[in-house]
Amino acid sequence: MPLSKEDLEKYIKNSIPDSIITIEDLRGDGDHYSATVISKSFEGKTKVQQHKMVYDSLEGKMGNELHALMLKTKTE
């Protein structure tokens, strides 16, 4: 089952409250998204750790319900 853009945003926001999130539905199918997540909480963390924080917020959906999420993380 695809995940809506709004739900995707909600999951990330719940887990990383200060995040500024921009999401694009790449194919309009609710299954291929591109997201940029900006949060101070990424500071001092490696890219792998930053992306992991976003994946973790999706509670196992990444790689399952959600096939493709192009991700960019930034601290500001």
């Binding site: 890219k47 792998v48 992991k52 196992g60 990444m62 399952n64 493709a68 991700l71 960019k72």
Partner: protein
């Protein structure tokens, strides 16, 4: 039974990343990538003329699930350099754009020849 398979596969993965400096766990093969994200990483590695070994996770379900558990990372492709997990497609592409990838590879003693 299932538990045993996971243990075996993580031994396989350990051996693979120990015996090869650069290993890409991907869908398909470098010549025929079966997924755009895997293809994108192949493109980066070829741009830098890096010698690498690839593992096609589509060859076995154990490997496909095993590598995700091993790296604690939910997606494929996954790039390893000298036994260290570097990242998936987005991170590798970004590091390539910023030049960080070349720096990292050189610092690990890997030959990089940008074309």
């Amino acid at each position: 039974m299932e538990e045993n398979n996971i243990i075996d596969i993580s031994e396989n993965i350990k051996n693979e990343i120990k015996s090869n400096d650069v290993v890409l766990f991907m869908k398909g093969t470098p010549v025929f990538p079966m997924c755009g994200f895997s293809a994108a990483v192949i493109k980066v590695l070829s741009d830098l003329n890096i010698k690498f070994n690839s593992v096609n996770v589509l060859d076995s379900d154990e490997m496909r699930e095993g590598i995700k558990k091993f790296s604690n990372w939910p997606t494929i492709p996954q790039l390893y350099v000298k036994e260290e997990f570097i990242g998936g497609c987005d991170i590798v592409k970004e590091m390539h754009e910023t030049g960080e990838l070349t720096k990292l590879l050189s610092s690990r003693g890997i030959d990089v020849k940008p074309s």
